[in-house]
C-alpha cells in the first residue's frame, strides 16, 4: 500500500511517518510537496505534524490553500483515507474537512509529553484494529491543541459518534489531570461524518516501536492497512 505524506514548509513529522511506513511496516511511502497538485496514486494521505507556513495567522490557516489541499479534499470526497496528526489535524479543521477548531492550550504550556487515549469508537478505518474503550499510549507535542466546537456542532459530533479519541488516565478515566490542553470533553481526535477523514493531536508515528516507548500507534497503521486491503 502507498502512503502519501504531505509536506508543507514547516512540517516536521514527515520523516517519522516515512520511517514507520517504510522501515517498520515495509509499505510504500512518498512525499507530496504542498505545491504539487498530485497525490501520486496514494492509497492513504497523511498530513503530518509541524508548523506549516509557520502557523502564521492561525495554525493551518495558510496551509489549507496550498494546491495539494484541493486534491486532498477531492480524494476525501471520493472516500479516500486522510489522516491528520497534530498540525495535520489543525489543517484539516481549517480546511473544513473536519469539524471544530484547535485553540491555544489552556495551561500556558507547550505540552510535550506522553498521554493516554481512550478509544471511543473502533468503527473507523483508522481504529478498526483497536477495541472500544481500549487505552492506548502516544506522545503529544503541541501548544494549540484545545479542541473546540460550538454546541450545535458538538451535538452532531456526539450523535454521529465522531469523537474517536479522548484523553484519559492509564485506567481510561477522564480525570481533569489527564486532559493536557483543556480540550472540550477531553477530545483528542475526531472523524468526519463519513468516517474516512480522521484528525488527532497525538502522534501515532512516534509510538510505533517498542524502543521509543510504545507500539500502540501501530494499531492505527494496522487498521488502515486492513481497510485498504479489503477495498
Amino acid at each position: 500500500m502507498k502512503f502519501g505524506i504531505v509536506v508543507f514548509p514547516g512540517s516536521w513529522s514527515q520523516q517519522d511517518f516515512h520511517h514507520v511506513i517504510v522501515n517498520v511496516l515495509k509499505e510504500e511511502a512518498c512525499y507530496l510537496w504542498h505545491k504539487e497538485a498530485d497525490l501520486k496514486g496514494s492509497d492513504c494521505v497523511i498530513l503530518p505534524g509541524g508548523f506549516a507556513h509557520g502557523d502564521y495567522l492561525r495554525t493551518g490557516a495558510i496551509a489549507r490553500f496550498s494546491p495539494v489541499m484541493r486534491e486532498v479534499a477531492r480524494f476525501a470526497d471520493k472516500g479516500g483515507l486522510v489522516l491528520g496528526s497534530c498540525n495535520g489535524f489543525q489543517i484539516l479543521t481549517e480546511a473544513g474537512l473536519l469539524p471544530g477548531a484547535l485553540l491555544r492550550n489552556d495551561c500556558l504550556h507547550y505540552r510535550c509529553t506522553w498521554v493516554h487515549l481512550r478509544v471511543e469508537s473502533r468503527h473507523t478505518p483508522f481504529t478498526s484494529a483497536m477495541q472500544h474503550g481500549q487505552v492506548v499510549r502516544m506522545p503529544i507535542s503541541h501548544g494549540e491543541g484545545r479542541y473546540y466546537i460550538d454546541q450545535a456542532g458538538w451535538r452532531r459530533l456526539v450523535e454521529n459518534g465522531q469523537v474517536i479519541f479522548r484523553y484519559c488516565d492509564e485506567k481510561g478515566a477522564l480525570t481533569k489531570e489527564a486532559n493536557p490542553n483543556g480540550s472540550l470533553d477531553h477530545v483528542a481526535g475526531v472523524c468526519n461524518e463519513r468516517r474516512n477523514v480522521l484528525g488527532l493531536m497525538p502522534h501515532p508515528e512516534r509510538a510505533a516501536e517498542a524502543i521509543l516507548g510504545s507500539e500502540d500507534g501501530r494499531l492505527m497503521f494496522a487498521s488502515i492497512l486492513y481497510t485498504l486491503a479489503r477495498a
Binding site: L57, R58, A61, F65, T93, E94, G100, A101, L103, R104, N105, D106, C107, L108, R146, Y148, I149, D150, G153, G182
Partner: protein, 84 residues
Amino acid sequence: MLTAKIYVTLKPGVLDAQGDTVKSALETLGFKGVEDVRIGKFLVITLDGGAREQATAQVEQMCRRLLANPVIEDYSFELEEAGG
C-alpha cells in the same frame, strides 16, 4: 488608496487562555477592576485604488476566506482613505 483596519476577535464564550493570563498579570501588577481581557488580531491592509463599495466587498471576502475562522472568531473592519 484605501486602508482597511480589520479586527479579528475570539467569539464570546470561547475561552481565551492568553487573555486570562494577561488579566492575571495585570492584577499581579496591582491594576484593579479588570473585568476581562480578550486578545485578538489587528490587521492593516492597504488597498490599491478601487471604489469604496468594491473594497468593502473585497475585504469582507478576505475576512471570510482567510483572515478569520468562523468557527472561533468574529471580525469587523473599517475603511479609511490612506494618507488622507
